[in-house]
């Protein structure tokens, strides 16, 4: 009995090693091979099966959008610094801090609108079906995070209201 049991346990260990080993090796090789030529826009071509001409138009839009995005990021970062300075040492939210918060929110809204405008332009460059799918996916990815946060916050607020 002992001998048979040892053989079976050994076979089980060997089988698990073969399965795990081939899984790890193939995953590693796959990741290395596929990640070789990845640029920012490769995902679009792979996911939405775009032609070279479509990719060239998107590349142009992308290059035009990036400086505007960077400029908006710089403005938001500067406004955040101003807000931190206004809040620094203060024990309450003073008028200046409130003003900075409003300006920061306005900048973020402007940034979001610009981003959505870019997504719309890119989606219009694609064939109709992939374009719709791209726009929906980008809205889900960029606006969904805020919606999730807001939904969780409102959920916790409701929960608090129900408490006696």
């Amino acid at each position: 009995m002992n001998r048979s049991l040892v053989i079976l346990l050994g076979a089980l260990v060997l089988g698990a090693t073969l399965l795990g080993g081939s899984y790890a090796v193939s995953r590693h090789v796959c990741e290395r091979c596929m990640a070789k030529s990845v640029s920012d826009l490769d995902w679009l071509q792979q996911e939405f099966h775009l032609s070279d001409a479509e990719m060239a138009r998107i590349q142009k839009l992308h290059e035009g959008y990036l400086p505007k995005c960077a400029e908006m990021c710089a403005k938001i970062a500067a406004k955040k610094t101003e807000l931190e300075a206004a809040l620094n040492g203060s024990t309450n939210v003073n008028a200046v801090a409130q003003q900075k918060l409003a300006e920061l929110a306005a900048l973020r809204a402007q940034c979001q609108a610009q981003m959505l405008q870019h997504f719309t332009e890119v989606s219009q460059t694609m064939p109709p079906e992939p374009g719709r799918r791209y726009l929906a996916e980008m809205q889900r990815l960029t606006l969904g995070l805020h919606e999730q946060t807001e939904a969780s916050m409102s959920g916790s607020m409701d929960h608090e209201h129900h408490q006696p």
């Binding site: 193939s26 995953r27 796959c30 995902w43 995005c69």
Partner: protein, 110 residues
């Protein structure tokens, strides 16, 4: 050994028979029958484990069979490789998506 032990006296044999017949056997202990059945059931258990030994032996013999071992090893390697490629391509796709998102919507990530 002496001759007396090999061929006992017939008188002694008769005496021994008489003595055994005159001896009164002790009364059976309480729940004797139940105890007997329990012992019989316990005695049957090793038969079951013998069956499982035979089953293990057969399985071990099958595992050691070259054709079976080779086929199983091939199936496991191919299955592992397919799973790895699937998982790897999924990871690369997620990374590429995150890279694109970080380029076009850096503030959405924070």
């Amino acid at each position: 050994m002496n001759q007396e032990n090999i061929n006992p006296d017939p008188e002694d044999t008769k005496l021994g028979t008489l003595l055994r017949a005159s001896r009164v056997g002790p009364a059976l202990p309480p729940r004797f029958q139940e105890g007997v059945w329990r012992r019989i059931e316990e005695a049957e258990e090793p038969i079951q484990s013998t069956d499982s030994i035979a089953w293990l032996d057969k399985l071990a013999a099958l595992v050691l069979h070259p054709r079976f071992a080779l086929t199983t090893a091939t199936v496991l390697i191919v299955a592992g490789a397919l799973l790895g490629v699937r998982e790897g391509s999924q990871m690369v796709k997620q990374d590429a998506q995150a890279r694109y998102l970080a380029a076009v919507a850096p503030h959405s990530l924070h």
